[in-house]
């Protein structure tokens, strides 16, 4: 195309076109796009191109030696054929790109299409018909497309005439000649003088081709010309069916006709005739493989999932490789982006497993399991293959297959839709002495194509096994020197568990290595944060009487208590009781919303003085002793719609009005609130066992095991509490307990079926891994706001989604403001907040920062004008944004938070021009005093039962119960690198946290919150369910959370959330279709309990404070649910059955159960009551061995998935599964039924003991 020396220097996307190979000088093209450097989207934008979707740069382009005129490292762009495209910025408005009658266009490009469905036309480059404006659906000025027919690509030129008022006229020309799709690089060109249909000419690889006009045929009419955009790679709103799939390079537009000679000179290719189709298959040479190891690798961008490499295609270097010790793999590892956030594989990928294996000489039978296309090599010979999975969705009526049978009895059957093939292989002997146990070392390589267009990048359980010499079973293939591993159900299961653990470690390593690239940035941020705290120190810790080692938290708390009225001076007057018990609550409920900290109409009513001063009207609100001269009374009594207070709702009841009246009459006294003894006295320290249970629940979300309990209680180490606190806050399972707090607060709401109803991506995995990695919170929040990685695979990009929401970024702005700054913008979605100072503009300015450009308020989020017409008095709400007003990105909360969007922020971001990153920094920088305090307040509330500020998500106008302590804790948080665990450890080490839970902080105003002790807290829903499993030693069993566990759709379409192992991993089933076939009964059973205790799977909005109220279904579900019934059963081979069998005595068994379920020993009365139930028949509880009846196994039922769920039988199967679940697991036959039932009754009673659901 151009001489190498110049080509390699061409950097800009629009290059000056230079000399051709034959040396003639040409007119300059108006555009010539080539893609020589792996561009980031930002840098590309500076070169007048903007990418959409999965455009990949740095791909091999047409190169020497095949194309000697081009450099050997020439690079091209790859488009995914699903809408990936490039927009030529501003080109649409330039006359250069607009062609009228009499003007000539020549378009040329290098293309290497991977696939074009037969009958489809895909766009290489075009002007107009972008589909961005409905009425302009037919505004095609010009276009170069590729038309696919039976694996051959033809040139296709399309434009329209006459769109105004009449039906559009489409004019299409198609070349006669073509080239084979997916056969390497081709040069294509066409030229046309508008108005002159005879001028049409096309070239393929420099050779002219004729063609035919179609649709409305040739025309002399002028084409449609407007200012619509020029796009590369797609059209019509980025429809997949018109999107180019493959690579392109050197796309040029000329305003002149190029001669045959000129075009011919572009294409200079070495080598014989162009070979098309698959290359001959060969076992890859993988070099040395460490002895005893299996080498695994994953290579991205495999060209197709339906076949192997074609001529001209090469395999890039593997993205990831690792080692193992068996030809067994439950899944491929997870991909992460360069910040360590979950991303997606560039699918399809090639999975390879290779090893040197000692195989017995002679004929061997092998077993191969793979989901898609695969081939197994031994010493260069292809011995077994599987085909690509091409099953497509058929309205839910795909066949229901019977459950997979094991190839031999006892062998683990294939899982799901894995293919299973068998192969015979003759292992040659190495020397002449044929001995029975002689072995031959073979190189074994398995290649599997994973993922592909329209399918999930999941491998399924891949396995290669070899039949055992006795022909009775299979062994998993292992490298030379490794022990044999049988493919029996039991061994395979434990091997899979081990491999899964290895994979998790591998994932963690990949993730942390990637994340390490950002560590220096955060080290700087944290250094800066420490310096900021040094310059803005928190209040000093007060000194208090007592021991010198008083914990700082206790020092602050004791100071407030000491300042409370001394006990003997406590006002016992009926005035105070009346005022604080009756009057103040009425004022608080009805008035303070507007006249508390806020002063609507200049009026405050939250002090006596303010009341007497009155507001803007000038007259006092209350005249003590004279109710009828008091405006307050007049306003609350009147029926006049224009002056009535409160302005909305039903107003005060007659009883309430009369209480206020009497209070004014008797002088409107405002006595100080009496401190209740219970709030200021210091209760006792909680005992060891209860402390440990509390510590475990607050850190890892489940109670301690019996062994841990005994170890702790029996230890005489005086430092044991602080040691165990330190141990527990560092425990990996802290992530399992704390993740649900963030899921609630950030409204994580993934959908298994349709992504509507404000659903998000599953960014639970981003949160979970951030917590596991103990990511500093400022960093976690920054990465959340940056919305990185893959939206449907668990990256923080999933936070950006809001299915069916008319303004997703407004929704996210609302979440971020309430979660991290205590600013409630719920009302601001549609109008300025009536009870807050925030405006609609604030919310949309924030949303525009996330949007990285101005944002409009959608009409559906506006209060209709008719609403205001109906109002009879001045409306409380106002709409200050005009329709169609575009809101600029700007930071609205400088005043509330202290963080200013100034030059200082430039130094704490990667890209100062990115408003989204600026927002992240403004939220998380130390200057934002709200962030640190709001977060610390959340933690405090989680551990102590109430916040310093309530409600935790809406601080405006709220008092802080302990302002100094809050500031001190916030400073600790900031100066310790925003480490959540440091704060947890601080709070847990305080005496306040370690007291008996008699605190009464939650339901009193800030002034009366002393935090002399934690409030009593009920277990969260997740804690109830997880504790129930731990208490009964039961494994967590639930179906894989996916309606497509076989990976036949993409993650965007049908999510797979994996198999839950803790309660937080569940998700709303969204069975709006009411189909039993979509019921996932085990998940439903667990969710029944979760929901009753306040968990919500469908988090349509953020939840800062769950409903923790008692209701009858809570004890009901614990008593009667299928989950309780099944978990409290001494089922076959269960740990509970084992406990019963091994018990030494009824007393010992009761003791064990108490410690197991309630983390304490029974009192003598309790022991006696329980022993009375299980002592009778205790010694005869075991069935003699020769009388034990074997328990028959139930036959497996076929698998129901999205693909076959619409078959009637699918409903029957799932209903049967529900029925089986209700029947529960079979009882352990080693125990006599009569005694076993009584034993189970004791277990049941303990989990139903009210104590079970309370944090001690």
């Amino acid at each position: 195309m151009i001489p190498i020396s110049i080509y390699t220097k061409a950097i800009t996307a629009i290059a000056i076109f230079c000399a051709t190979a034959v040396g003639t000088i040409q007119a300059e093209p108006v555009a010539h796009w080539q893609f020589d450097h792996p561009e980031s989207p930002q840098s590309l934008a500076t070169q007048d191109l903007k990418t959409y979707g999965a455009v990949k740069f740095g791909q091999a382009g047409p190169r020497s030696p095949e194309f000697p005129d081009l450099s050997s490292d020439n690079q091209a762009a790859h488009l995914d054929g699903k809408g990936a495209s490039l927009l030529a910025l501003g080109a649409g408005e330039k006359g250069d790109f607009q062609f009228k009658n009499g003007e000539t266009i020549t378009i040329e490009a290098w293309v290497n299409p991977t696939s074009i469905a037969s009958g489809n036309q895909v766009y290489v480059v075009s002007k107009g018909r972008t589909g961005m404006q409905k009425e302009k659906y037919a505004n095609q000025n010009w276009s170069l497309r590729m038309y696919g027919q039976n694996s051959v690509a033809h040139l296709d030129f399309l434009f329209t005439t006459r769109v105004d008022k009449q039906e559009p006229q489409w004019h299409r020309w198609r070349s006669t000649a073509g080239f084979t799709i997916a056969s390497g690089w081709h040069h294509v060109a066409l030229s046309y003088e508008f108005g002159n249909p005879d001028s049409m000419r096309g070239w393929i690889n420099g050779i002219p081709t004729d063609g035919e006009w179609g649709l409305t045929g040739p025309t002399t009419d002028p084409p449609v010309v407007d200012d619509d955009d020029v796009w590369l790679g797609t059209s019509m709103g980025r429809k997949a069916s018109v999107s180019f799939h493959g690579s392109m390079d050197g796309v040029a537009i000329h305003r002149a006709r190029l001669s045959d000679q000129e075009i011919e000179s572009r294409y200079n290719r070495e080598g014989g005739p162009r070979l098309t189709g698959p290359t001959s298959e060969q076992m890859p040479d993988l070099g040395e493989i460490p002895a005893g190891r299996v080498l695994y690798s994953v290579t991205e961008q495999f060209p197709r999932h339906t076949g192997w490499l074609h001529y001209g295609e090469t395999l890039p270097a593997p993205t990831l490789h690792w080692q193992g010790d068996a030809f067994l793999l439950p899944r491929i590892p997870l991909p992460y982006d360069d910040w360590g956030i979950r991303s997606r594989w560039d699918s399809p990928v090639l999975l390879r497993m290779a090893s040197d294996v000692d195989l017995p000489v002679g004929p061997q039978k092998l077993l191969l399991r793979a989901r898609g296309l695969s081939r197994l090599w031994i010493d260069g010979e292809k011995v077994a293959t599987t085909k690509a999975d091409t099953v497509r969705y058929n309205g839910g009526r795909n066949p229901i297959h019977p459950p997979a049978q094991p190839p031999l009895p006892g062998v683990r059957p294939r899982q799901g839709n894995m293919q299973e093939v068998f192969a015979e292989f003759q292992v040659p002997s190495t020397d002449k002495t044929q001995e029975a146990d002689q072995k031959h070392r073979c190189r074994v390589v398995l290649e599997v194509v994973v993922g592909g267009r329209g399918v999930r990048t999941e491998s399924g359980e891949v396995c290669v096994a070899i039949e055992t010499p006795d022909g009775q079973s299979y062994d998993i293939l292992r490298p030379a020197g490794q022990d044999r591993l049988s493919l029996t159900q039991e061994v395979a299961q434990s091997t899979l568990t081990r491999i899964e653990q290895d994979l998790r470690d591998l994932d963690a390593t990949t993730r942390r290595q990637a994340a390490a690239s950002e560590d220096p940035f955060w080290d700087n941020r944290h250094t800066r944060a420490r310096e900021w705290i040094a310059q803005n120190p928190p209040p000093p810790v007060p000194s208090v009487a007592g021991p010198t080692d008083t914990h700082p938290i206790d020092a602050f708390i004791l100071t407030k208590i000491q300042h409370a009225q001394p006990a003997e001076q406590r006002s016992e007057s009926s005035d105070a009781a009346n005022f604080h018990g009756k009057i103040l609550p009425i004022l608080r409920q009805h008035c303070f919303r507007c006249h508390g900290e806020k002063d609507q109409g200049g009026l405050r009513l939250n002090t006596r003085e303010a009341m007497l001063n009155g507001g803007d009207s000038g007259s006092p609100a209350v005249t003590p002793g004279h109710p009828h001269e008091s405006e307050l009374l007049t306003r609350i009594q009147t029926d006049d719609e224009f002056t009535r207070m409160p302005p909305t709702g039903k107003g005060l009841t007659p009883e309430q009005v009369s209480l206020i009246k009497d209070w004014i009459l008797s002088g409107a006294a405002w006595p100080e609130r009496p401190s209740e003894a219970v709030a200021v006295e210091l209760p006792r320290r909680i005992e060891d066992a209860a402390f440990l249970r509390r510590l475990f629940l607050d850190t890892i979300g489940v109670p301690p095991t019996r062994e841990e309990l005994d170890q702790f209680v029996n230890s005489e180490d005086p430092e044991k509490r602080s040691e165990w606190i330190e141990r527990m806050v560092a425990d990996k399972r802290v992530a399992d307990h704390w993740v649900s707090f963030w899921q609630d607060l950030l409204a994580e709401n993934p959908s298994l079926i349709s992504a509507t109803l404000n659903s998000t991506g599953p960014f639970r995995w981003f949160i979970y891994e951030s917590l596991q990695d103990q990511k500093p919170l400022d960093r976690m929040v920054t990465e959340l706001v940056m919305m990185r990685g893959s939206a449907h695979e668990g990256g923080s990009a999933g936070f950006a989604l809001a299915g069916g929401n008319d303004s997703p970024f407004a929704a996210k702005g609302h979440i971020l403001a309430s979660a991290f700054m205590g600013i409630e913008l719920k009302c601001a979605r549609c109008h300025d907040s009536p009870y807050h100072s925030s405006t609609q503009h604030d919310l949309y300015a924030l949303a525009a920062m996330l949007n990285r450009k101005p944002l409009k308020v959608p009409t559906s989020s506006r209060v209709p004008a008719a609403f205001f017409d109906k109002q009879t008095r001045e409306s409380l709400i106002k709409v200050s944004i005009k329709p169609n007003q575009s809101i600029q990105p700007s930071w609205p909360f400088a005043e509330e938070t202290g963080a200013k969007d100034d030059d200082g922020i430039d130094s704490v971001v990667h890209d100062p021009n990115d408003s989204r990153e600026r927002l992240a920094a403004l939220i998380t920088s130390p200057e934002n005093r709200r962030f640190s305090r709001v977060v610390v307040n959340h933690f405090w509330k989680r551990l102590m039962g109430a916040g310093f500020v309530e409600p935790v998500h809406d601080w405006e106008g709220q008092e802080i119960s302990h302002p100094e302590l809050l500031d001190w804790l916030a400073a600790e948080f900031v100066s310790h690198g925003y480490d959540e665990r440091h704060i947890l450890q601080l709070i847990m080490s305080s005496a306040a946290y370690q007291r008996v839970p008699v605190g009464q902080n939650a339901n009193v105003p800030a002034e009366s919150r002393y935090f002399n002790a934690p409030d009593r807290r009920r277990l969260t829903a997740e804690q109830v369910v997880d504790s129930l499993h731990v208490a009964t030693c039961s494994p967590f069993e639930a179906e894989t959370l996916s309606f497509d566990p076989e990976g036949r759709t993409t993650m965007d379409d049908r999510l797979n959330l994996g198999s839950p192992t803790r309660a937080w991993m569940l998700a709303d089933l969204k069975n709006e279709r009411d189909r039993p076939s979509l019921s996932l009964p085990r998940n439903r059973m667990i969710m029944d309990m979760l929901e009753v205790f306040g968990w919500k799977g469908a988090r349509q909005e953020p939840v800062a404070q769950r409903n923790q109220d008692p209701n009858v279904l809570q004890p009901g579900i614990l008593a009667n649910s299928v989950l309780t019934t099944n978990l409290t059963r001494a089922s076959i081979d269960s740990p509970l059955a084992e406990l019963a069998i091994r018990a030494e005595s009824a007393e010992q068994l009761v003791d064990v159960l108490f410690r197991q379920v309630l983390s304490r020993s029974p009192s003598p009365e309790e022991r006696e009551a329980c022993v009375a139930v299980i002592a009778p028949g205790f010694s005869q509880r075991r069935v003699p061995d020769d009388e034990i009846q074997p328990v028959p196994e139930l036959p497996q039922l076929p698998k129901v998935t999205w693909f076959n769920h619409a078959q009637s039988e699918a409903n029957t199967i799932q209903t049967k599964n529900e029925e089986r679940l209700r029947q529960g697991p079979p009882e352990d036959p080693r125990l006599r039924a009569e005694w076993r039932e009584r034993f189970e009754d004791v277990v049941w009673s303990l989990v139903n003991h009210p104590e079970f659901v309370w944090v001690p």
């Binding site: 109803l757 969204k1070 069975n1071 209701n1111 009858v1112 579900i1117 019934t1125 409903n1211 003991h1249």
Partner: protein, 440 residues
């Protein structure tokens, strides 16, 4: 603490409540006052108002095709791809009103029924439409709206001291739940008429004697550990007591369909009919709102979502609806409950007159039919008119908020009042107007 007998599903006074109620709760605790929640007394005189006390809402998941049921038009031809009804039409008890041939029993009762033929909304996707038809709104992202059942449960409570206000016979989902109204307005649910509600029925395989043994041991343990110092613990103890009572025989008897005459049970028909029968028993016991889900899809695999071949057995669904609905109406009438019980048949959306490539039908949300029966309304067989292929509304459009307003008015709930999600006022319906002609 004092339990409001109309709200047996919560002993709560605090934090789940809206901020208003939360503060009121503090006041109530301090003053010893209960929170009043009586809507009847405050029903504005300017609004239409019916006389019903209960609602049985039959839900046809997947989207009932109006042209093949309650809004029949000229027949089409699948083979020729000629749009139109799938079945013949028959006359009904109301002159001029026709229904499809597979609704013969209901046809005789059309004078107690009004098919509202002009319901419309804008959502074509199942989950979103289900949400729209249950909450009367699109999702917002800042408020989780309550379902119609929860609105009525919240406003009217249960009608007796043993019954919950809202029972769902079908799978739980967020559209059916109570949203910001909290747990006390939420449903009890069951998916199988052989069992009682989840959480309040004795588990399979636990005999009464064994249940008693468990309860007695638990009672001893609770007695030993009783901590009366703490209000929260006391509230939970109270909840345990109530739960034991509700899972006891008194409420449990309601679910025992064996107590009904065999002939009546047969008339109701299969599992769906039994659900309708159970809903009548629930209403008798004082349940305010029952949602009965029809979409069991055993008959044709996909229920009312009759794309492609799903339509081949649609008539079986219609026949099942016919016998169950007709029997329910007559049974309620016989028990003198029809005027006090509004039966509503609602669905996600309708279906177009055209046939898809497999001979079935797609989704049509711009015009479809919901059905009201009984409830003391002035029925007229049909309300509203669509064009010759029931594709477009010709007269008297009824929006989803209008439909909600009509149902709320019939059960005497002020359909213009505001509820509060925290500080935020939320109108019960989005500006819905009741069809006043049904109340004259």
């Amino acid at each position: 603490m004092k339990i409001d007998p109309r709200l047996p599903f919560s002993t709560a006074t605090t934090s789940s409540l809206t901020r208003r109620e939360y503060l009121a709760g503090i006041a109530a605790t301090a003053c010893g006052l209960a929170v009043p929640r009586v809507s009847l007394a405050t029903f504005p005189s300017t609004l239409v108002r019916g006389q019903a006390e209960h609602v049985i809402s039959i839900w046809l998941g997947g989207g009932m095709g109006q042209i093949d049921t309650f809004d029949p038009k000229r027949k089409g031809d699948v083979k020729k791809k000629q749009p139109g009804a799938y079945y013949d039409s028959i006359d009904t008890a109301v002159p001029g009103v026709q229904v499809c041939e597979h609704l013969p029993q209901v046809a005789k009762l059309m004078d107690r029924i009004t098919a509202i033929r002009t319901v419309h909304h804008r959502v074509s996707e199942h989950a979103a439409a289900t949400n729209e038809m249950h909450t009367g709104r699109a999702t917002s992202g800042t408020v989780t709206y309550p379902s119609l059942g929860s609105l009525i449960a919240h406003e009217r409570g249960g009608a007796s001291d043993i019954s919950p206000p809202y029972v769902l016979i079908g799978y739980p989902n967020v559209a059916r739940s109570s949203g910001f109204l909290g747990a006390r307005a939420n449903y009890l649910y069951l998916t199988n008429t052989n069992e009682g509600p989840v959480g309040l029925s004795r588990p399979d395989g636990i005999a009464v004697s064994r249940q008693n043994r468990r309860q007695s041991l638990l009672a001893t343990l609770r007695e030993n550990a009783r901590n009366l110092d703490d209000a929260k613990l006391r509230d939970y103890e109270e909840a345990i007591e109530q739960s034991i009572q509700l899972s006891g025989p008194k409420f449990g008897r309601v679910f025992d369909l064996e107590r009904e005459p065999a002939e009546l049970r047969n008339q109701y028909g299969g599992e769906f009919g039994q659900r309708c029968l159970l809903s009548r028993r629930l209403v008798e016991s004082g349940v305010r709102f029952v949602e009965v889900s029809h979409n069991l899809n055993f008959l044709n695999g996909v229920g009312w979502d009759v794309h492609n071949k799903g339509i081949l057995e649609q008539h079986k669904l219609i026949q099942e609806l016919d016998s169950a609905l007709a029997t329910l109406i007559l049974d309620l009438e016989e028990k003198k409950m029809l005027d006090k019980t509004l039966v509503a048949v609602t669905t996600e959306f309708g279906r177009p007159p055209e046939f898809d490539s497999g001979g079935g039908r797609g989704h049509q949300q711009r015009a479809f039919t919901c059905v009201l029966a009984g409830g003391g309304l002035q029925h007229r067989g049909a309300w509203g008119e669509t064009d010759e292929l029931s594709q477009k509304i010709v007269s008297s459009p009824v929006s989803v908020p209008d439909l909600f307003a009509t149902i709320l008015a019939s059960i005497q709930v002020d359909y213009q009042k505001y509820l509060y999600d925290g500080d935020r006022p939320i109108p019960v319906t989005d500006g819905g107007r009741a069809i006043s002609e049904l109340f004259i």
